[in-house]
Symmetry: C2
Subunit: 173 residues, 2 copies
């Protein structure tokens, strides 16, 4: 985990796959404000309007809340990232993965608030997600990367088109 | 559906998403033996040893039955293809997809027995799977194609790397 020393110290594991902790904090964030800390959670009971605000902040097209709720319910893992400042908590990152719970997982909807980009937090968020998937014994972790984030994922160990395998999307005729 | 006239005439919908029929037959198979017919099913209660035999026939690496069972249970859709000859039924094709039940699906483990390849049955199997996903209101249907099947999927309407989106796989450092 590089300079990230301490992860997942809390433990509220009910909703997490394989008894992983659903909440934990990340200590020793470089350049961190002394009055704030960054927290990760796998609890999927989050305010969907706060998530919509986060997605708005990075310019994503709006999606019906009802469908977002369903997608979160049926994701295998959800990892969120929060800035905690005293009693206040702000959602600053989100990611999720679908899976067959056995072999494969596919990562969707990775987002970090622009105010918190460029600090290594996207990387930390992804590492949490990958760690959670690996702890659940998923060996094939996949995603579909937009061109401008291919390098970001490559730096995390993701390979584009390994052995010529092509990501493909279906469009109606 | 091209020359495939008739699909999903049966109806045992309990386990299917959105009330789709879980079993149906495909009539008017060209060059079909008069004594046999090809059947599709979305019933996931299948003999896993028969599935293993099918995967052996195309040379796939063996996987633990326990994990295959779990993967099937946690797939969003499973579509199987059978040759029915009198009271005998033989598994000749398999496919499944994971999904968040709202936006995205990813197709895995598409296989057609070598004895039944080159007859358009792989295409018919995929069309059943896509139709099932579309009926469940999934708009983003994805897959990862080995190089030798990219053209097969392209002919079905799948686009490789649309708008530069890259399929990526994670490997441990």
């Amino acid at each position: 985990m590089g300079f990230w020393k301490s992860l997942f110290l809390g433990s509220e594991s009910a909703a997490s796959p394989k008894g992983l902790p659903s909440r934990g904090y990340l200590a020793d964030l470089p350049n961190a404000d002394e009055n704030s800390r960054i927290i990760f959670s796998t609890d999927r009971d989050l305010d969907l309007y706060e998530l919509e605000e986060l997605c708005d902040a990075v310019g994503w097209a709006r999606r019906p809340i009802r469908k977002v709720k369903k997608a979160i319910q049926h994701s295998f893992v959800v990892v969120t990232m929060w800035e905690e400042r005293g009693a206040r908590r702000r959602l600053i990152g989100f990611s999720r993965a679908t899976s067959d719970h056995a072999f494969n997982a596919t990562i969707w909807d990775v987002v970090v608030h622009p105010d918190f980009q460029g600090k290594g937090l996207g990387k930390a968020l992804m590492k949490q997600l990958i760690k959670t998937l690996r702890n659940a014994d998923i060996s094939n972790v996949t995603l579909f990367a937009d061109p401008h984030v291919v390098e970001f994922y490559r730096n995390l160990g993701f390979m584009p088109d390994p052995e010529g395998i092509k990501g493909m999307f279906w469009y109606p005729d």
